[in-house]
Every structure is written in C-alpha cells, then in structure tokens.
Amino acid sequence: MKVYDLIVVGGGHAGIEAINIASQFEGVSIALVSMPGVSLGSAPCNPSIGGVGKGQVVRELDALGGAMGILADKAGIQFRTLNESKGFAVQSTRVQIDKEQYSLEAEKFIGNLENVDVFYEKVSSVSKENGIFSIKTTQSTVFKSKTIVMTVGTFLNGKLHCGSEQMSGGRLDCKESDSLKDIFGEINTLPLRFKTGTPSRIYKSSIDYSKLEEQPSDCSTRNFHLLNKPFSREMPQISCYLTRTNAKTMEIIRSDKDNSPLFNGQIKGVGARYCPSIEDKAYRYPEKDIHHVFVEPEGINLDTVYPSGVSSSLPRGTQEKFIKTIAGLENAVIKHHGYAVEYDVIDTTQLDNTLMFKNIEGLYFAGQVNGTSGYEEAAGQGFIAGVNAVLKVLNREKFVLSRRDSYIGVMIEDLITNTRDEPYRLFTARAENRLFIREDNAFLRMCPYRDKLCLSTNLDRALIEIMESYYLLKNLVSSMKYSNVFYVEENFGLNEFVKNTNGNVTLSEILKLPWVNPVEILSYVLSREEVEFNTVAINTVAIETKYEGYITRANDQYAKVGKIEDKKINLAKILNSKNISFECKQRIERIKPETFGQLRRIEGIRAATLAVVAGGAL
C-alpha cells in the first residue's frame, strides 16, 4: 500500500495552502481527503478575501508561494483598499470574490498539481503505528501517510442552530465530522465549544438597489499575486452596497430574545466579540439602533447576496421580519436563513511553533479547528503546517516566521502561547511592529524566508528581480539630490521647502515630509527621469522611506525590551502580586512562563503587568 508523505484532511483554505506549498517540493507525494459534497476553497461566510490585517496575510502567503492571492485575483469581483486615507501602514486590500468561481479555480488549481491525489471521503478514524498514520474513511478506505495536516474547520462535532431547530452538521447542507475523540482517541478538545454564525442569503432580484449606497470596485487597488499585472482583472467588476438597520429592525430582534438560541441558553459555545451576531448588537447595545449592513454579491451568476453585519440564528420568521425593515430590503426574499454553528476546537497550546501536536509527531492542525476565524487566518496556518510537515519528512530544518516581521508569525505565536477563550482573529493591533509589517513590503519581508525553502519557481525568479530593483532604488533615493529633480517643486507644492534647503536635500528627505504622498512623488520623479522600476519596489521604497525614523525608533525600543527577554521570572511572586489583574494571573497560571519573554507573549497580558514584572526584575 502506498504511503504518502503527507495527507491533508479537509480542502478548505487551510488545506489548499498546505497542499500547495507541499507540492512545490520535488518528489513529495501528497493526498487530499476532503468531505464529500463540499467544494474546495468554499466560502461559507463572507464572500471576500483580505481585509484589515488579513490582506497583509494574503500578501505574505503570496510572496511565500501560497495559493490564496492567485485564487482571489482570479475570482475577484470587487477590489477595495481599506483605510486608504489613514496612512500606508494600516492599508489593507479586500477582494469580494465570486464564491462559485473561487471554488472552481481552487479545484482546477489543486487538480493541476502533479504530485497530489484528491479523494472525497469522510474520515472516521486516524491512528498511528510504527511512525505511519492510518486514515480510515466511512467507505472503509484506508490511507497511509508519514504526516497529517488536519484542517477540519467547523466540522468537528458540528451542530447548527436556527431558532429552536437544531441539527448536526458542519455547515448548511454539509455533514459534520465525528468528534475528535472518536477520530483520535488521544487528543482532547477544549472543554468549551466555539460558535460562529452567518446571516441569511437574500435573492438579488428582491433588493431595491436604488435605496442603497453603492461602493464600486476600485481600479487602483493592486492584485494580490506578485506575478499578475497589478491592476488587471479576470472577472467583470461589480459593486457592493451599504444600508443600515433602524429602530424598527432592532425592536423586532429585541422582542424575540426568548427565541434566540444565543440568549436562551440553547447555544453554549463562545462567539467572537469582534464578530457579533445582530442579536448580540441588539441586546448588548440597547441604545444603538443603527448598524451597518453591507450587501455583498456572492457571485456574478449566483442569484444571492450576503448581507454582512446581520448574522443571526433567530427563528426563520423573525429573520424574515427584521430583514424586511431594512432600507432596500423591504421586499427581500430569503433563500437560506442565517444560522449559528457550534463546533469543537483543540487547545492550541498543545501545538509547537510549526503547528505540530507536541505529543504526536507528524500530526499538524491548522485553520478553524485551532479556534481561529477567517479564511486568511486558516490559510496562513495551512501554509505553516503544510510546509513543516514536508520539511519534517525531508528531515530539514523547521520553518518559523517571526512575529517581528509577519502577521502569520504574530498569529502562530499568539495561538501556541495561550489557550483560546474566544475565536481568534488577526487585527493590526496584535502586531507590535505595525509600521514595518505592511502589505506593500510583504515581498521584502518574506523573501528571506522563501529563500530558505530552496525552491526554484517563477515566483523565486520574480522575487530576485524585485529585490534587485528594491535595493537599486533604495540607493538612488538616498543619494539623489533633490536639486536634480527641480520639476517636482512645481507639482507638489514644495517650492518653499526646496528654496530653504538651497537644493541641498536628498530625494529621501523629501519623501519623509509629513504632508507629501511619497508614492506619488517617487513615481513621478522616476517617470520624469525615464527610469523604469518595478512598481512593487517603488511603493515599498517610498513608504519605507517615509516611516524610516519611526521604524528605527520602534526597533530601538524593542531592543531595550529584548535585553530582558531571557530574564527568569518569579512565577509565585507574580501570582501573588496585587498590581496584576485577576485575568492576567489566570492566563499566566495556565501557561506557566519561565522567562520574561514567554510571559510577554501570552495573549491578554497587559502592558502594565509586564511593566510591574519588569520593574521588579530590575
């Protein structure tokens, strides 16, 4: 019987990335075992890829050789740059996708990988003997492999709720997986279950668009994939729309609180505070009636839209009633009703920094089963688990991203240093080094990591080119005297400034001026000088120059902290301290950190706690 090097269980966003990166290593044999009846790379929630903090992950993946950026570009039907007016460091790309097309592209993509076999079967048990895993399916097929990546999403012991209706399932019209206990006797899931939810889907044709605010696609938003032309689009572009709830909407929801599974005790799982259902919004913020509802198309040919912001597990009748109070949705016809899903998650503190289960060598977990939410978070983990599984088979050094230079690194470290008490989502606020880990320089940050994999694909060749371009341009910008580019002053209102410097100022000093748009100026100068540079490199050099001082300062601060990273801490003293909050102590007690660095990395530890400990360790 064939023994695969790697078997990935689950063909969602995590699974796709795991398979994709693994397949780039020559001579590795891979199988995907995915739930029958579920399309690959499906989008059961928001039909979009990217977003604040998440767009950065997609670009990191893309520069590492990931699949998500490629697929999103192919299926993108509305592109936007979020936080466009707020400074480059926090700008993120979000792409609405045609979810049907996305799955088609994903299936095509995986199908084209030569060393990957795909099976649609439901896994019933996994066991390990003599270093080899055996995966049994309900059809009694047995697969064998050296490593496994489990990306089972919300399917573990999944249970759906819609009003008082309850059914088993991983999502609408999909069967659930057995509980992990049944599949894997030795692994405990967290005692608490997680919950997520989704809104009803509404027929496009039943919406009065004249009452909605249109948000068209932005043609100046760059594609995710580095090798794509930056602004070309594969799909026709369509708009999203904005509407709002009102007092009537909220009153209907509030008056049916008793029938809300979330609030009448039917659902015990913990949902994410940052992704509240409309019931949460109604009951927790009784004084607020107006909430945004984004009407997002699910696809060009699909007949439904996704009303983002009103996810609900209220009874069907109530959902219909409140939806119809929203401007533009008065005559809305619901195709599928919203529902909540409860599922098991594993305790990620049992994973190491490659997402391998510490007690079972070769077994990896990635994606929503780890208690995260979001396709991008899942994809990031899938990549890390997949690449490390293969590196393990090949007996090579493990692949770990630092939280200093990537959002994926931030996420993995957050996951493994603490037990989740609510679904985890990436925010830019989770990253200490936000001015440096930006979308525009993902290639720069990821290139050294990609190099370590020693692969040779089109991407690797492109990365070399962009890096060369970047270094060249960086030199140029710091040495080029501004007097040589006098024409800029006519165009960007820099007359006064230039006069005062007597022309003795470099281009880089100009780019640092707070009131200039560095990308605009640098692009203009280069075009006037008729020198061609890769536009990705131009963006990065311009933005990096602008933030240089701030980044250096942040790094200096970090260096100071870094010194005490390895300092041993007195756990008993910390747990007895009056200056440390109860929640912090609880978290500290669970993880039992030994050094200041480990303490610092526990999620939810407040800066004040660190300060107290650092103060005491002086």
């Binding site: 707020k86 400074g87 300060a611």
Partner: protein, 441 residues
Amino acid sequence: MYYFDETPIIACSTSAHGRSAIAVIRISGNFELEQFSEILKFSRSGPIEPRKSYLIKIHENDQLIDEALAVFFSAPNSYTGENVLELSVHGNPINVDRIIELFISKYRLRSANPGEFTYRAMKNNKLSLSQVEGLDLLLNASSYFALDSGQNLLRGDLDKEFIQLKEKFLTLKAYLELNIDFAEDIGEERSWSLARSAFQSFNDSLMVLWDRGSIEPKTILSPKIVLFGKANSGKSTLFNSLLKTERSIVSPIAGTTRDYISEFIMIEGVQFELVDTAGLRDTEDFVESQGIARAHELIEKSFYKILLQNVYEIDFSFEKFDADLVIYTHLDVVQDFNLPAGSIGANLLVDDVTKQVIDKLLHKFKDVISKNPIVIPRHRELINSLSDRTTSLKTLFDNEPDIAILSSELNLIEQELYELLGQVTPDRVLKEIFENFCIGK
C-alpha cells in the same frame, strides 16, 4: 547597590547620631522568630502573636545585655511585606551597635543599605513609587504643607489621579485601534469623533496636572522671603523687625558660606528663610555690579520678593524683578506721594507694617497651596514631557492624520505614563529615590 534577595536585613531606625532613651532596631526578611531563640528570651512562654508587644531579654553567650520590647509582624502584613521584627532597645548608640553586631555575627544578617526597607516594601507592592516619594517628602518636610503633601502621596491620592489619566489614555488608544481595525463596522466619521473626544478628555486631564506642576516646588517646600532694594531703603530694619515678631529658629542646614544675611523664621507652621540682600554688593551701582548674577538668581528663586523703595530715590531698575510686594519707605520726606495699589507705605517700620507684610505673605502662600501643586520633581518632569508629546500629538491629529504614526507616538506616551505610575522604574529613578533615605526608614 540593591540586592534582589530576601536575606534578613537589620538596622536601627532612629537617628544614628545622638543618644535617645529608646532606639528601634528593625529586622526584615525571610526568617522565623524561633531561629533567634538563643539571643531573644521572651518573658512569656507560648506562641508569639504578630502585632503584639512582648517584653524580652537579649542575651549574648547567656549573659543578659539588654531588656527590650519586641513586636513581630508576619509577612505580608508588615511594612516591607516580609517578616519584620522590631526591637525597642535602650537608645545608647553603643548598646544599639552591640545588639546589631550580635545579630549580624551570629545569624549572618546583613546590615541594611540606605532605604532598603522601603525598597523592599516597594518591591513587594506595599508602597507604590509615588508613595515612596511621599514618604521621603514626609520625613524631610519643613512645613505643614510639605508634611501634608507627603501624607497625601503616602495615602496614594496622587496615584489615583495618575491612574485616572492612564485610564483616559487607554480609552484613547483603544479608539485609535478601533479606527484602524473596525472603522467599517463603526463608521468612519464616528470612529474619528470617538478618537478625537477621547484625545480631548486625556489632554484636559493632563493639562490640569500640568498646571499643578507648573509651580517650582523648591519655592514652596523651602520658601524664601527676599528683601531687596537700594542701600538705606530699610531692608535691615524690616529684616530685624520680622525676626523680632516671628520665631527665629536655628537653621538645620549646615553652615554654607554666605554672602548675604539669612535667618529662618517659622510663620504658622511654615518655615521660611528670610534673606536680606544687604550683604550682596549693596552698592550704588547694584544692578551693574558683579553680584548681579547671584542676586538675580537669589531673587528669582524666592517665593516672596519684597522690594523696598526709598521714595526719596526710587530706582526703577528694580522693577524688572516683579516683586510680590513693594514697600515705600521714608514717606515723611515726600509728602504727597501716591501709594500704588497693593503696596505698603511706611514712615517708620513698626509692628503694624510687619503684620501687613506677614498677612500678604501668608495670603500668597495659601493661595499657591490651594492649587494643590505637584511637588515631586520626577512627577513634574514626566508631566512636562507628557504634555510636550501630547501637544505634538495634537498637531498630528489636526493635520491629515496618518493613524499608524499617531499610534506609534501614542506608544511613547504610554511608556511615560507607566513611568509616572512608577510601574516602569528605570534604575536611575530608584537610585535617586533611595539615596535620599537614611538607614532604617
């Protein structure tokens, strides 16, 4: 040098100089009472309860060397948060030294470093940094005001205000993060207006503290009254008259060489240093003289500046000193002199004038104190620096804001805030604070 151990330390808490009837020896650290049983003989048998006083005998090699009162404090309910034993022994320094030496040689206790008891109290969170600063102020106070300020700090009153400031800061920080990560959910406009109003609220609180910190603390903690004016304007007369009316006291500050005459007087519980600049190049060309710089400094740093003008030869060059009170003397010479508002006229410096001077002086002092000034230099420095940073943050807010830069600036403010709260205490701060303590406090 500070140790990070819990070795029992020992020191005498009363003044090392001079004799007194009783001296208190304090031992703090990781010890059990029983271990001293060879030296300390309790007069009553049975368990020793904390916080109760016991009569004990102190033995050296079975020879009685002193009788004392002992109080045991059990950790963490003690000043330092460790086990503490206090022995009230007879106060002769030789006796005290012998007992301390006995503990050190027999039980390897360590002699406490200056301020080490308080240092341990802080490390064990018995006192915050501001409370330690308050204690310092309290123990070195030379006026009721300074005593009160010290007590307030020790009670943690100012801490509470700093904590409120920090909470407002955290709101601001949270709203900025909200603006970055959740602007779509909240709405662009609303998230900015939340951030702006949070900034305003933080800034307002900070400005209140800044106002309170804008008074130079030296001028009120050891306030000087300075008399200046031309020769023969009546400075010495007023000086002597004030000394006569008020209680003159011996200066606690050891003899510095002085080129001016000064005495300490106590007025309503406040110790003032009264300075007559007569000795300070009191010549015709005073303003141009070599003593200018010195005189300037002296006058400017004084709490209360009294300018004496001989109406017969008024010197307007003194007006630049912005005197708190002007006294016009020799009014008998110029008959129709119009006294400017607020000033005092005097023919002869009699008790009545002195009383007026003191009234005005106290009025100002009470007025200043009623503003609840912040007197710890470290606090004032940090508040000043915070207010500078906040001002530049405001500029960033007002111009087209790059929110990533805003939040990076916010991180710097955060660091200083925690420093203000004493939660991040760089070495130098600790060093400075604890060096002000004598052994045993």
